[in-house]
């Protein structure tokens, strides 16, 4: 099933996600419709439990909506098989997490190479792709280091390199500065902005930091209790 994208990189139509917790039904995301233009930098703002991370997981294809549709480049994620969702996560989106989620046993180089292995990229092509990604985040000198040997900021940059290595069109970042001090956090935000500008990569970032959202994102979407509250240009909402 495809929908008319009208230049949107990703778009949701009345998407909802409910969880059963015991006998109670939790509406994590309720009837949310958003549309992100290709090359746009959007911040999903909200307090804890507002449903922003759940929405991001739905956009990433890590989770399936209870109802509604999610279109990524015209393809409805809600109707994809698990194999197709894996393909979407591999080629269309790159993900960055608050906790970095690097594999501790692997070196930086191996961590960055991992998505290439999963995407069955030719082995001969991989070293150049890894180098390109780590140079973009200025970590070329740390290739042989394990995550435990890197600082928080370096780990997040490594995670960013890993998210970029498969050349996705959409970058999804879940609280990328949540575990970093303000200086390092700003450096990461600069990097995201640079990637957005230079690579024309669409970025959807979940954050609860209104100031950073206003400073770096083109547009802010605010959520509360699983519902979309406000949506507008960052300078308007800030």
């Amino acid at each position: 099933m495809t929908g008319n994208s009208n230049g949107f990189a990703i778009r949701t139509e009345r998407v909802s996600r409910q969880y059963a917790m015991g006998e109670a039904l939790v509406h994590a995301v309720e009837d949310v419709s958003i549309a992100v233009q290709a090359g746009e930098f959007v911040a999903l703002l909200g307090s804890s439990g507002s449903g922003k991370s759940t929405l991001l997981n739905l956009l990433a294809g890590l989770d399936r909506p209870t109802s509604g549709a999610i279109y990524a480049h015209d393809h409805n994620l809600a109707e994809m098989s698990s194999q197709e969702l894996a393909y979407h996560r591999s080629y269309t989106v790159g993900m960055v997490f608050q906790a970095f989620n690097l594999l501790p046993r692997m070196t930086l180089e191996e961590n960055v190479e991992l998505p290439l292995r999963l995407a069955e990229v030719d082995r001969a092509e991989r070293p150049a792709r890894v180098r390109e990604a780590v140079e973009r985040v200025s970590l070329a000198a740390r290739l042989t280091h394990r995550p435990s040997e890197l600082s928080g900021g370096e780990q997040q940059r490594a995670a960013l390199a890993r998210a970029l290595v498969n050349r996705p069109t959409i970058l999804l970042a879940d609280e990328p500065t949540g575990n970093l001090d303000s200086v390092t956090g700003d450096a990461i935000m600069h990097l995201l902005q640079e990637i957005n500008r230079n690579l024309r990569m669409t970025i959807v970032m979940v954050t609860h930091d209104r100031v950073r959202a206003a400073r770096y994102a083109h547009r802010i979407i605010t959520m509360r209790d699983g519902k979309l509250v406000t949506e507008g240009a960052s300078d308007e909402i800030a």
Partner: protein, 465 residues
């Protein structure tokens, strides 16, 4: 994910939890080792029994008689009419012997030559039974542990003594080797056609017969001439050789078969053949047909029956022996498999624990694009690798157990002054089979954990601390 990447990732994961995975692999190895040790014991004993029995000459031999002489063991006497027809049964002569030799898979055809006679040793007479031994008997187990050597040739004037007879001659049996003894026997000498007198006892003057091979014009009768022959003792054999049915078992003085035949000893059949009026070619009461392997016995037996002779082999006994060992192997295999079942539970436990430990990792892999199939295959590869490694290790341990059992048994046998044996045997099919079995059992054990890991919700997995 490509196979090479999958293998590399699986190997990395196995290396990371080296202690736990090593213990699981060791568990598999112990299971495989017990299976291999049990089966190798079964196969070893089977081979031991088969080899010993086969080398005894009982399982690769067909006993051939004329239809007239053959009567099934335990069968009731045949009616008179049937007995009458047997008078015309085919003769077991040299032509028949030649024909039997030409049958496919027949190695050797030889008559039974055994006779009681007197032996002179150091001036003293001894009564004993002489048996002719074919050259093929050298391969018999009976001659493995003999003192001295086997016959140097098929017409060597040499003798091997059975230990009991050797003890009659001397307390120091080994000291007999190299000494000479004199064989005294009665030789058949054909009478000339017009002969009416012989230097010794004569027989069959009235019946035309010549049961001995001789070029002289024969009268059909023969005389018995006392002869002597010097033989050099070249060996003492402990086990009684038993080549063929009633062959030269019970022989106490063994000489080359060709020599025994050349002696032209009067046989019990000679008188009967003479009375029946058989002339010309010599006939045999029975012949032993040595076949290339016990498997070929049935075919050879059928071919001989088709030629009009009676046969007997203990093929059925071989079949029963095989059946016994098949059941024996099966039982040993079941016991061994129980150990492998326990090892399989170890694999399931290890991999289920690994899922709990690696929930977050599975979530990350899925977030980076791993499909359910990739995760399943990764866990499968890890289970398979442990199975393969455990299988190889298990075969090695099983082999060592077999060696240890053989060593222990041989120490005991040596104390009993018995020859050593090879108690266990690991043929190539057992090595391949055990490793493959271990591999597939491990894959089966990894099925549930792998499928559980594949189904893991990535959102929950990433949330997991």
């Amino acid at each position: 994910m490509k196979l090479r990447d999958l293998t590399e990732l699986a190997a990395r994961n196995l290396r990371e939890a080296v202690l736990r995975n090593s213990l699981t692999t060791l568990g598999i190895a112990v299971g495989v080792a017990s299976l291999v040790a049990m089966l190798s014991l079964g196969v070893g004993l089977q081979e031991l029994a088969s080899t010993r029995l086969s080398r005894s000459g009982l399982f690769d031999a067909v006993f051939v008689t004329t239809q007239a002489n053959m009567r099934a063991f335990g069968a009731p006497p045949r009616p008179a009419a049937e007995r009458a027809t047997t008078q015309a049964a085919r003769k077991l002569d040299d032509d028949a012997r030649q024909q039997l030799t030409g049958i496919k898979n027949v190695v050797e055809v030889y008559p039974e030559v055994r006779f009681p006679t007197e032996v002179q040793f150091e001036g003293k007479p001894y009564m004993t039974t002489v048996a002719g031994i074919p050259a093929s008997a050298r391969a018999d187990g009976a001659f493995d542990e003999m003192k001295g050597t086997f016959f140097s040739g098929s017409e060597a004037d040499e003798a091997i003594l059975q230990i009991e007879f050797a003890r009659d001659l001397s307390r120091q049996t080994e000291s007999l080797i190299g000494k000479e003894l004199v064989l005294r026997y009665a030789e058949k000498e054909p009478l000339p056609a017009d002969s009416s007198a012989t230097p010794a006892a004569t027989a069959g003057k009235t019946a035309p017969n010549d049961s001995a091979a001789d070029d002289a014009p024969a009268s059909g009768g023969f005389s018995l001439v006392p002869r002597e022959m010097k033989l050099r003792i070249i060996g003492v054999v402990e086990t009684e050789p038993a080549t063929g049915f009633g062959g030269f078992g019970r022989g106490r003085l063994l000489i080359p078969l060709q020599i025994a035949q050349n002696l032209r000893i009067a046989q019990p059949t000679d008188m009967r053949e003479m009375l029946r009026g058989n002339t010309g070619k010599p006939t045999y009461e029975s012949l032993t047909v040595r076949v290339s392997s016990p498997k070929a016995v049935q075919g050879v037996e059928d071919a001989i029956k088709g030629m009009g002779f009676g046969t007997f082999s203990i093929l059925d006994a071989t079949k029963n022996l095989r059946l016994f060992f098949t059941v024996f192997d099966l039982l040993l295999g079941i016991f061994g498999s129980l150990a492998l079942t326990v090892a399989s539970l170890g694999i399931i436990n290890t991999l289920v624990m690994a899922i709990l430990e690696r929930r977050r990792e599975i979530g990350i892999l899925k977030a980076l694009g791993a499909a359910d199939r990739d995760v399943r295959r990764l866990f499968f590869a890890e289970a398979g690798a442990m199975g393969l490694l455990g299988g190889v290790l298990g075969v090695a341990i099983g082999w060592l157990i077999g060696r240890a059992l053989t060593f222990g048994t041989n120490v005991y046998l040596a104390r009993q002054e018995l020859p050593p044996i090879d108690l266990s045997s690991i043929p190539w099919w057992m090595v391949v089979g055990a490793i493959a079995f271990s591999f597939f059992v491990s894959l089966a054990a990894g099925m549930y954990p792998a499928s559980r890991a594949a189904r893991l919700n990535p959102v929950e997995a990433l949330r997991y601390e």
